[in-house]
Amino acid sequence: MDFSTLLGGFQEALSLHNVLYCGLGVLIGTIVGMLPGLGASSGMALLLPLTLGLSPTTALILLAGIYYGTQYGGTISSVLVAIPGEASTVVSAVDGHQLALKGRAGPALAIAAIASFVAGTISIVLLMVAAPLVSRIALKFGPPETFALLLFGMLSISSFSSGRMAKGIAMGGLGLLLGTVGIDAQSGVARFSFDSTQLLGGIGFIEVLIGLFAVSEIIKSLGQGAPPPIRTRFRDMMITRTDLREMTGPTLRQSGQGFLLGMLPGAGASVASFLAYDVERRIYKGPKKWGTGVVAALAGPEAANNAAANGAFAPTLALGIPGSGATAILLGAFLLFGIQPGPLVMVEQSDLVWALLASFYIGNVLLLILNLPLAPVFGSLLRVRYAYLYPAIVVFGFLGAYAVENRMWGIWVAFVAGIVGYGLDRLGYPLLPIVMGLILGPMMEEAFVQTHAMGGESFAVFLHRPIALVILALCVVAIVMPGLLRMRRRLIARRAAPDDTTDDEPRMSAPVGPHGPA
């Protein structure tokens, strides 16, 4: 990396004009990200035509600002009302929302903002130093590796099952099944469409997400009695030193992991956040029960999805291969301005590329300045009586469900998913595996079919792909290891107290209820 070009990039990005547009981008991104159904892709696509009058550098800085602004905006709605604005912030709704319900919405948002900032900073440095280098790894990543990685991601279902493994597997299957509805992209066959033109287009995960998280949560609250408004003082909305200590490890770990996953085509920020949640659960040794408002469970995925968002720029810039839907639109913007991304772009358009990379850092600082002081203010929203909040959540949720494809069908899907989700939740079925199956299933099927075709209709192709083999081996370890460790613990316990233990005891150790192990 040539530091003079980097300094030149900062000089360009720090011009008042560009800083203002960067600020405008992150602000729009934050607002768009808060609204479920309107993700980075739709926000960028909406504003793309408006950037035509700007210089290419300013236009790209604005669009990139929207892109990473949405990552944080999605977190705000996840934490406050448990409606993820983005697929990559689904897991933030678990522990983030639990923290909010305990009167710690402000710290939860601040933790997310700081984790995102740190991850953003680390990943930008990685992007600047290693973009051309890491892109070579991305080139080796074909369908077999993508399939293996997605399979690894699916294994994190156990993290979202809270000890109810059979129910978690069933819900993962239900998610996969919902993902198959509609026309199969590989063969053109209409699956489970029952002659309905609406079903031919498939069932979108955002609509299901809104139903499962917003509508079903509201029904549940009505059944349990509305939660009282959160009565916390403004100063309780501030982050503590303990929070900072608990978030350090997960943030640093997931910054690296998220960046690596983000630059892999097909993986993206959602897979990065799912895996981050799973990895941090396995590492976590703290006293709190996972899923009840653990700081690490919020900081890790937040760091991962931000780092992945930046990592996705590596293949986009260096190879011209978009790592996600939003970077595909950014790629379109490059082409719109007559710039061809690829290996030569770093040489031919070095001023623009370095200015863009420098603007990522400035955008991250602006996001922190914007969101850290506002975290207690956003958090104070939960002091409003629930009776006023939930009708607003319903209509904004319906708007999001409509906006995905601009059709009423989305609203009906959300409505039905809400009722079904409530029923499943009452019976103790975890809902997150449905979302995971629905998001990862179609990607996994595509990679699976392509892998099979690559190997001449054989799966022996895996034997020639060392990266895929390593990931598959990790999958096997992840499946077998917990069972082996449990057996080992039982053996040790039996040896330690041979008279006190019967064969049946270990199996009866954890009665499981709808809200996790009792």
């Binding site: 319900l101 597997i169 993962g172 063969s187 019976l427 699976f448």
Partner: protein, 171 residues
């Protein structure tokens, strides 16, 4: 307890039936194509097997486990653990049904009267009928929420159904 077990069994049996149906559907769609490529039925079969397998395990375990908390709406344990006033089961069911009816009618009316008007109707009816708030409070909250909704629709150019009142400027 018996009712809870009954519901758990019914739920698992329904999911099992859906899983078996999906697996059969998968086989019918074809597990491989003429070219030898993976067929469109492979994923539905896999999904159906997971769903059927998981729910069958649940079905076989019902009644063998210790009682779990939250088997009726009135007894349900809030996930947040927040202290809430005790809820009469009949009142809770009435509120849920009313809220769902209002949401359903509101969603159905969106294409006819326009998104904004229907959304305002959902908010107002929920506040008055379900929450039984004073009229002036309900009107104020409806105006504020509808104004926010309109701003989002207007500035993000979301083409929501405008209805005869053309409030959204959509279609």
């Amino acid at each position: 307890m018996a009712a809870a077990e009954h519901w758990e069994r019914a739920g698992a049996a329904t999911l099992f039936a859906i899983g078996v149906g999906a697996a059969i559907g998968g086989v019918r769609y074809g597990l491989s194509q003429d070219t030898g490529a993976v067929g469109p039925g492979f994923m539905p079969l896999l999904a159906g097997m997971l769903l059927a397998g998981g729910s069958l395990t649940v079905l076989l375990r019902v009644g063998r486990q210790a009682p779990s908390p939250g088997n009726t709406p009135a007894e349900a344990v809030p996930a947040d653990g927040a202290e809430r006033p005790p809820v009469d089961r009949r009142v809770a069911i009435r509120q849920i049904v009313l809220a769902l009816v209002i949401m359903g009618i509101g969603a159905g009316l969106m294409s006819l009267v326009g998104f904004i008007i229907a959304a305002a109707g959902i908010v107002f009816c929920t506040l008055v009928v379900v929450e039984r708030l004073a009229l002036w409070r309900a009107v104020t909250a409806t105006v504020v929420i509808t104004a926010m909704l309109w701003l989002v629709v207007h500035f993000l150019l979301i083409p929501v159904p405008a209805g005869p009142f053309f409030l959204a400027g959509g279609r």
